[in-house]
Amino acid sequence: MDIELIKFMFMLTTISLYFNVAISLYGVVSKTNLVKKLIALTIFQDTVNMFTILIGYKLWRPGLLLQPPVLTDLSPTSETLREFVERSVDPLPQAFVLTAVVIGLAVTLFLTTIILHVSYHFKTVNVDEIGRSKRVYIHEEAV
């Protein structure tokens, strides 16, 4: 495989992730349905996580075997350790994403319960309708 090709594919992936971020942000801002907003938000989360993993990757070169940051030799010599450091991809972005994923899931569950609450209360999940009904109520109160 050609290294230039790999670099080009990485560039393409990065730019496609920018598009993904843009589309999901557009969904969060312009959709009026709260559930659709939530779906767009989860896509946004996953795109950012994917991007973080991507920048921890390492350029493949002929003669270099890439491996995850897990040492398979349980009594390593300095030679195996050197080889491990040379082959392994960056563990730091993986460690960040690891916690971000679980917290993202917890926040998503929290938002789901809020949306459930809102849907029971206002009998709709459309933010425009919710805003309108609140305005009517405030107006009635003022009168």
Binding site: Y18, I55, V70, L71, V85, D90, V101
Partner: protein, 270 residues
Amino acid sequence: MLRDLVFASLLIIIILALTYLTYSGGLGDLPPRDVRVIASNYLNLTYNQGITWLWAASPEAVTAIVWDYRGLDTLFETVVFYGAILAALTLFRSVSKVPEFVSSAGLSLVVKRVTAIVTLAILAVAASTALHGHLTPGGGFQGGAIASVAPLLLLVVFGKQFFIERRISYSKLLTIRNASLALLGFTSVALLILGFLTGFQAYIFQNQAKIVSTLSYPPYLLDVPLGGSLFFFNLFEFLAVASGFTLVFTILLSRDETLRKELEGEELGY
């Protein structure tokens, strides 16, 4: 409509600018030729038996970073996770007090048998992911997230009756979750307390012995690397994540009437 159009064109302009910057090398080499210095330090030290005052006794570098080198960060991230689940539970706090009398028979026999087998497999994979988190890719977070799928499946396929019959109640799950979070906190200060009692010096979140403090979690269990405190952190995080998610799933899959009760007596409008 105009607002959407303006926003969309703004996003397109931002994407084009970012694309140009990335293409002209704004992010450096993509992908980088080598890992950063800090990453190669972590990789070099995580299971380096020659430098045991800096190692984490874990062949898996990600778990070593998550629970040892940057352990305090992860503790606070766990607090965020705890808070989000707690907030979700608070929104439906009365659901826990309402005893549910449902008589759902669940899905058909074929689905039930298949689910029973698959559930066992899910739990086995989850336990292996969590308990071998310091040896193979995985850890408490991932194991807990995998394990929480099993009760979700059971809730859908067997019905809520299945849980009630087996006395898997809201308060029990909450107790498991709180206890494992408390144990997680205790694991982080256990060596510090031991240091106070024995007169040695120790740190919060200390795992292996350092030059100035000789207290240490056991690095091996019968010649298999244990990762010291990493094993305990993974175990307790696994229990906390699995029970926390199961709690929220149980509430989200409650009956509509039970959930609506939460809003009874409230005035119109927030």
